[in-house]
Subunit: 144 residues, 2 copies
Amino acid sequence: MDEFMQAAIDEARQGRQEGGIPIGAVLVRGGQIVARGRNKRVQEDNPIKHGEMDCLYNAGRQRTYRDTVLYTTLMPCYMCAGTIVQFKIPKVVVGESRTFGESREFLEAHGVAVEIVDSEECVTMMREFIAAEPTLWNEDIMEL
Amino acid sequence: MDEFMQAAIDEARQGRQEGGIPIGAVLVRGGQIVARGRNKRVQEDNPIKHGEMDCLYNAGRQRTYRDTVLYTTLMPCYMCAGTIVQFKIPKVVVGESRTFGESREFLEAHGVAVEIVDSEECVTMMREFIAAEPTLWNEDIMEL
């Protein structure tokens, strides 16, 4: 496993240990991790803190994102995909898109390169979470 | 001026007084304001705190947004538009779309009703801000 996707998975697992939703992300520039984040809906009682958003929150104000890559364990939702487009992040590496995700076409239509790793580890992590916490998951993807 | 758009403008003006970017938003359900927010890029040194995002952050976890309307002084960027789509907010009332905004087509394609008030007050507020702080504005819309 790529070290950056592994770092995103580590964030996701830490989130699950905290009682949260296991989705993690890291922002990378020039082979270095700029910031890490994980879904904090439960931990911070907040709906905008998806993994990708928490990572960008933690990165603070960056002069540009054009030289960055965002790694995330799960295909971004439209909030996170819209943010990637708005921030002009040119590439997103996605752990898996089997359990969720409809934003690929939107991302690619706006010039964002989408690389899907299709990691069994990411799929298993999400499937176990969804089976254990279906209501929480449906809340997070606004399907209640 | 509609009382909810006036509340969003009040948030925007408070943000400007704090040294920030004058964009405000309120979330309304059943004729009541659920939450208020304003752009806090400067105040919290953070790029994801656009007015709409700060408002939804302040609203916390809501069981549903299908019965809400989001009022915002400026046409949403793709981050905020993606969030409106993801959260299934059915309607957004926009103060003005002359100084910024390319997300209307995306919102409408995803079934969001977009009402543009085209308020001179909102246009003037943004034009004065952009003239005074062009670099800050370009940072906020990721055009640096």
